[in-house]
Symmetry: C2
Subunit: 339 residues, 2 copies
């Protein structure tokens, strides 16, 4: 039904002017000497025909496509990690850009072809995202290709957006300190002793460093550091039971993520221990889960949406910032800490 797309030539013809004039006017170029009347005619014609420029054609000339490539290992390993995409999408939209989203599953082969696919489409910049903070290997990019690492680091690439894990770790401990919990604290999920020399991730190491520093500063006595390699609900359940068996006097559990905390809830419930009256819990992530739990779980949030936003604005900003952009991890207070 609807005829083919309106082109600039159509607009120019209707306005009785050249495409040059139409182009200049529609792009609002400042140096033009075209008359007021010409402006009006072109604008009116464009409006009447409902003209929209063909981005591919424009991009061919200008080398700008107003398109960003977002290459990530997974889009949605965990629900909350897709906040990275949501934030990026929102920021891109605000800047009048769109995003090509590609998923690689972490496979090198797919990573390479994903990169080619976005390069072939002349994107203005590329975001390399990882759903769990880690070191990424990025191949060399054509000169002039802008890129930002999101929730990831890389040797070669200058700029990356990360959550501020060190401060986040401190925050979690400070909640305990503020609520006068000074002993009977167990850390669930990480133990330096058990994991020394094993590679965790930059994020975890920094978080642990924050926890340790804050614990020392506030003179908190940590009864146990329990190592759990996979941070899932069932492993959390098992580990929490173990801690409770060995240390019946535990008053607080600092869990390395919300799924572990979820498992701990189950273990505590089984033992008939009440949260927070008998045992307090603080955790990390602010997974969707955290709000479902009863009582609600107090947790230090991973600011995924903000990180996504920041990645886009860094990518699109003119000043070639470099280094790490650390995004604060906000404390979400619910009811799992006694007070």
């Amino acid at each position: 039904m609807a005829p083919k797309r309106v082109t600039l030539a159509d607009v120019a013809k209707l306005a009785g002017l050249s495409t040059t004039a139409a182009s200049m006017i529609l792009n609002g170029r400042p140096d033009t000497r075209l008359s007021k009347e010409a402006h009006e005619r072109v604008l009116a014609a464009a409006a009447e025909l409902n003209y929209r420029p063909n981005v591919a054609a424009r991009g061919l000339r200008t080398q700008k496509t107003r398109t960003i490539g977002f290459i990530s290992d997974r889009v949605a390993t965990t629900r909350f990690a897709s906040g990275l995409i949501e934030g990026a999408l929102a920021a891109a939209r605000a800047a009048d850009h769109v995003m090509l989203v590609l998923e690689t599953g972490g496979e090198a082969k797919l990573e390479a072809s994903a990169l080619e696919a976005v390069l072939d489409r002349q994107v203005d910049g590329i975001i390399f995202a990882s759903m769990r903070a880690r070191e990424l290997h990025i191949p060399e990019l054509p000169a002039g290709t802008r890129s930002v690492l999101l929730n990831a680091t890389s040797q070669r690439h200058a700029v990356s957006v990360l959550s501020d894990e060190y401060t986040g770790g401190r925050t979690a401990v400070e909640v305990l300190a503020r609520h006068k919990i000074a002993d009977g604290v167990a850390v669930l999920g990480y133990s330096e002793e058990a994991e020394r020399g094993l590679f965790r991730s930059v994020a975890v190491n920094r978080r642990v460093a924050g926890i340790k520093d804050a614990v020392a500063e506030h003179g908190i006595d940590v009864t146990a550091w329990e190592s759990v390699w996979l941070w899932e609900a069932d492993t959390g359940y098992v580990a929490a039971k173990k801690i409770l068996r060995r240390h019946p006097d535990i008053r607080a559990l600092l869990c390395m993520n919300d799924r572990l905390a979820f498992g701990a809830y189950q273990a505590l419930q089984e033992k008939g221990l009440r949260i927070p009256d008998d045992v307090s819990l603080v955790s990390f992530d602010n997974d969707e889960l955290a709000s479902y739990l009863r009582p609600g779980l107090t947790t230090v949030a991973l600011p995924h949406e903000q990180m996504g936003r920041d990645a886009v604005s860094l990518l699109l900003s003119d000043d070639a910032a470099s280094g790490e952009r650390l995004v604060p991890m906000p404390l979400i207070e619910r009811s799992s800490v006694i007070g």
Copy 2:
């Protein structure tokens, strides 16, 4: 460092042939009469220079961009809904296409601008997705624009991909029947009596119809239909408590989704009732939650990934199928039904 992109002209020059020849050879056109030697030279030149065609330029000529627009209200309202995107992404990649993902938050204004944004980029087709199955209002598209509705229906648009809710509803009931549960069953989340005339959604209505038919066929006695408007963990908790108070003899809970079931778990635990020994549970969705729960929740899965895949393959397939593509909802058996 790396010089500017290699163009077809570069390849042609290195091969000592015209761009016409190079283009024909690289595109493997069958009718060409170019010599074997010419083929070899062009292919070798392309490989040596690592030539990749500029998709924008090609698209300008061929009107094909190998790009799909994916416009959705939310990308990740719930973790598992983003399976829609994951599936679509995987299918697109398999078909050597990429996806422009746009999020509208359901706002009409953003929907309109998202549509323009993808149309401006000459996408080969558009998927309109909704994270919760519902009726979508899609504006008229330019002639020849292919489109598929994903997890949504619309008056105007012919083809949509939906989960097979009717059969899914039956499946849930059949689990109960198979395990010889014939009475003391309560449905948690929907009551026709309470919600008569209120708009739910096509999906819910079909699911309920399936439940009703299967219940009648198997001669199951449903003790209570409890209406819950918002299907969340806390509302499920409250509703389950209410049911247990009024009907202490309940043996099974059929929950309209996993979050409600999660709330029911909490209510049952508080009452000291064991799952599945005292009360069995069946639910819908296969949310990530369902696997965290103890015991694991038996649930009828929303086949989001498959739906995403189907949407892309329908969009890209030649035969202009129309009507609804109903994707089966698989039963995920865990341990919440006595047996």
